[in-house]
Subunit: 303 residues, 3 copies
């Protein structure tokens, strides 16, 4: 498997995903021994037009575990001085001369695709705009289900929170739709339910789904509860109890099911849940390193 | 000696300090040849909730001389985007998945201890709040006295400047109190004298000290003059002459005594003093690298 | 050739420039294989008192291709916390203890020279003030002419844009004046023509030059068109057509001539020109890496 630009979840077929996940599994041995020097001749440029320290750290750590080097900028202020109004295309051409791969975060939908169109080096999309993509997050989420549940075909997943605006859950719903016999439970207050485009896609691909307003009603049926934030604007008082995870609700969750969260969490998961072995959100972070290492190896070395 | 979390000066016993200082001595050979690759499989995360470029540079340089890698953030603005209001504990758990040691600067007293309580990887406190600790600074100060004066037992140290609010001098006074027959001269304007908690501690431990208002009166008695800033609010006109170091005062300083300063200095030491071999404040900075390297080695490799 | 501080273009003689350019040529093989580990025991400190992400990336990439490590700060805000009003000299002394070479960007003319005067490690000037120097930019420009045209003696160069305030074109004019039979065409609106000091220098050194107001008039005579920005204050409507490069003008440019630009460009070169093999501005960026690598090797290893 040879990868080049990583721009959107849609570009991955199920066989490529499985090959990527096998490679990610093998990365664990490298992390366990602290890393390799195999890619010490590679430089990653992190070209972030908006702050995302968490995503930056994950990519930097993945690159360093492979022995590689990193040059990075993530401040909007820096960028205005960087570019002096130059086109995204010019900036990407220049940064491509300084590096072997560009990881780009941009505030506009399609920013990464524009970069990829002219870049001499591979471009990885690390988030492009509110309604855009963040494919490596979707991949690490799917990898976590694969690793924890052992299978993705036939998995039953509750997606909980602000589904209307959550880039993460939208991408994940899309990727899950590629697999067989998946069942999706969209649990959100009505105004924050999954939008028409995803619903349309799922109907077209004959993916089973239901829309719910209380996690408690369906929690005993699912393999995965994927929690996300309700926007702060909802207000503490307004917060409906059906979109929360706590110790009492964990008692209803099947024994082999898991609870995921893309982090950072606000208060939608009680800290008392953390010690439960079914709470995998911190393992999810670790899986992000493995998936990003696998992507980098596939870009640098893949056949 | 195996170290894990480095949270406060109090955790170090005199034998551990001496072992650490011997290790620091041996680090000088590594620095002289530009570094080692022995720790190229280690990643340090610098998790700074407030800016401190000087401290960051010192830790980064120490880590790199050991062959290690660094991921870093130090901007408050970045952190607000990093955490989106998540708990310190959640942030530390995530960053621990990206790294092998966390160096943390926090604006709250006890921040580092909270991090250490839940961290899967060692945490080094690089300053926690105004009245908190900065143990690696205190260690490098003590190491400088050890290196320059050859002994700490029986040393006579003048601490000069704003002693009431100086985190550095407070920590150093504390550490010095662990040794035998130490004499401390607190030289400060009355409102800026050493606070009750330290005075109480020294009385309890039967450490000899005196409180003075003019460095000139006691400079001929001491082995170490540890200068610090008087706060800018004191005003140029208000600045009492007894808390300054210049060439004329250096004539009164014993030949084997030294002048220290944690830097940055304002104008409390005349630049004319710099060329005097007894002015060791720039060697102090270099000693900081050695002590931080020794701490890292003791964390990664200690038995 | 052993280099130490790199402060201003004037310090380079023609033989030293030629030796440097030969070394830069040889760096291309190192870049082609992704880098070397030869300088893995070296640390570069990037001490930027103002943002310049582009220049920082170029130096970082050059250092990393040589196997070296980088510690960096480039935010004015950070610096105010770094220095707390300390002198430039104190800061440089401290940073010199953390590193093997300092690359400095300062807002004051002469900042780098002040640093070099007291620094224990070599200082490279990466720009000092509006009317100051940026010698590595001038070197990479000259290297690009050397590489593309094969000779600098006898070269005919049009310098286009805001010549009065352009640090880049001023430095380049100065360096070109060191070579034989060079002809310079200064193409600028009258109020933005080359200033008296450079004119005086060229007259003294008997360098042929002319002052023009329309690139079209002389483009068929030259080997190099060096485009720069007209200041934004000129206004779109005010912009005289004689200082632009587009496809129609490219038809008048000799076949072996080249078009250069220090980047970032605004709209003074039409994107339609990019595909022309005579448009070398993106190769110029790549040459910057080679020249900076050659400077670093000459500092670390030169005899």
């Amino acid at each position: 498997m040879k990868l080049h630009h990583i721009i959107e979840s849609q570009q991955f077929t199920v066989p490529v995903l499985m090959e990527l996940f096998n490679l990610a599994d093998s990365m664990e041995r490298i992390v366990a021994r602290g890393g390799t020097r195999d890619y010490s001749n590679k430089i990653m440029a992190l070209l972030f037009y908006e702050h995302s320290t968490r995503t930056r750290f994950s990519f930097e750590s993945a690159m360093m575990r492979l022995g590689g080097k990193v040059i990075a900028t993530e401040s909007a202020a820096e960028f205005s001085s960087f570019t002096h109004g130059e086109s995204l295309e010019d900036t990407v051409r220049v940064v491509g001369d300084y590096s072997d791969v560009i990881v780009m975060r941009h505030y506009e939908v399609g920013g990464a695709a524009r970069a990829a169109a002219i870049s001499a080096v591979p471009v990885i999309n690390a988030g492009d705009g509110k309604g855009g993509q963040h494919p490596t997050q979707a991949l690490l989420d799917l990898y976590t289900i694969h690793r924890e549940i052992k299978t993705i075909d036939g998995v039953k997943v509750a997606l909980v929170g602000n589904l209307a605006e959550g880039r993460t859950v939208r991408s994940l719903a899309y990727l899950l739709g590629k697999f067989e016999r998946v069942k999706l439970y969209f649990v959100a207050p009505k105004p924050l339910q999954m939008q028409e485009d995803i619903i349309h896609y799922l109907n077209n691909h004959k993916v089973w789904f239901t829309q719910e307003e209380n996690l408690r009603e369906i929690i005993n049926e699912v393999d995965v509860v994927y929690m996300t934030r309700l926007e702060a604007t909802e207000g503490e008082g307004m917060r409906p109890s059906g979109f929360f995870m706590d110790e009492s609700l964990m008692k209803l969750l099947p024994k082999k099911a898991i609870v995921m969260h893309p982090l950072p969490r606000a208060n939608e998961i009680s800290p008392g849940v953390d010690a439960d072995h079914r709470a995998v959100y911190f393992r999810q972070t670790r899986n992000g390193i493995l998936v990003r290492m696998a992507l980098l190896v596939s870009i640098f070395d893949g056949r």
